[in-house]
């Protein structure tokens, strides 16, 4: 079964890094440069299984995106992981209270991201050859 991920970050470099990690474990990945663009992708469908969300972005930031997703019943099954430099405890609490499922701090390693996905149960099952 194909699993889909949406990477949301205003940095093309970061989108490429995150997308590369996700592609390597079997995700099909789409990208958005800010929260508003990501919402447009959700509205167009299909709903990704996972969204990796930066916090500080122009137009619409990551926290606002999380709030918007949680406000739409049709989107609530999507797993959301913040990928950000915001590390203060109160910020983490804000994101998780808003509806994010996990939190990954930048800089991160590929293994660090995969560990988070494993904790979420979001590592695609590798089909036997």
């Amino acid at each position: 079964m194909t699993v889909h991920a949406l990477v949301i970050d205003d940095s093309r470099a970061m989108r490429r890094i995150v997308s590369g990690i996700l592609t390597d474990v079997g995700y099909e990945v789409s990208q958005a440069g800010h929260g508003r663009e990501a919402l447009d992708l959700l509205e167009a469908g299909p709903l990704p299984d996972l969204a990796c969300i930066d916090w500080n972005m122009p137009v619409m930031d990551g926290l606002s995106f999380v709030h918007a997703v949680r406000g739409n019943r049709a989107w609530r099954s999507m797993t959301m992981m913040m990928v950000t430099t915001e590390s203060e405890h109160n910020q983490i609490v804000r994101a998780l209270t808003a509806g994010a499922h996990e939190y990954l701090l930048k800089p991160f390693t590929p293994d660090g991201m995969l560990d988070k996905l494993r904790m979420l149960g979001m590592l695609p099952v590798q089909e036997p050859a």
């Binding site: 940095s11 890094i17 122009p58 590390s87 590929p110 904790m119």
Partner: protein, 192 residues
């Protein structure tokens, strides 16, 4: 799949667990070069040249000579400062190529350079901000074709990172207009 609510069991710690920036009026010490170096090296090893990946190959003659590029992020709130990343254009092209994992035959565009340096400033700046003992906000990166030298600002610390034949300079600045921390009396500001 997790329930999705509540604090995760394990959270990544900030790179440096102790507060790095403290109230100078109370005799505290601002960020040191060693501390900035530790942040930079950690960011470098994770984003630019991770050990898990082969080093990116660079084509010859990339970038314009005698041209500088800088990216900066401002930190505002109880402390007002900035973190900047500066290098020559050739270095900026190499950083962009490494961050984007481009093959030698792929072209690096000017938007790629701005994006890569901006993200470096964002991540280093975010980790410096994380060490502040007060609540602050990180701005969006800005990129300019010159060295970063804000008017009226004082340099807190500087770290030079030699890399692949070039030099990357990281600086932390205290910006004019907000000279101290929350609660700092005007007479104390003047004395500093």
């Amino acid at each position: 799949m997790s329930a999705g609510w509540g604090t995760p069991e394990v959270l990544s710690e900030p790179l440096l667990s102790e507060p790095l920036l403290s109230d100078p009026a109370a005799g505290g010490q601002l960020l040191s070069e060693d501390q900035l170096a530790a942040i930079t090296v950690e960011v470098w090893g994770s984003l630019v040249e991770p050990e898990s990946m082969a080093p990116v190959q660079f084509p010859d003659g990339e970038g314009e000579p005698d041209r500088w590029v800088s990216a900066s992020v401002e930190i505002s709130g109880a402390w007002h400062g900035a973190v900047a990343v500066s290098t020559d254009d050739a270095g900026a092209h190499r950083i962009a190529r490494a961050l984007l994992r481009l093959d030698p035959q792929e072209a690096v565009t000017e938007p790629d350079v701005a994006d890569a340096l901006g993200e470096l400033a964002n991540v280093v700046g975010g980790n410096v901000k994380a060490s502040l003992p007060y609540e602050t906000v990180l701005g969006l990166p800005r990129v300019a074709e010159q060295e970063y030298r804000p008017a009226g600002a004082s340099q807190v610390c500087r770290f030079d990172l030699p890399w692949r034949g070039g030099l990357l300079t990281l600086t932390v600045w205290q910006l004019a207009g907000r000279t101290g921390f929350q609660g700092l009396a005007p007479e104390q500001e003047g004395a500093r």
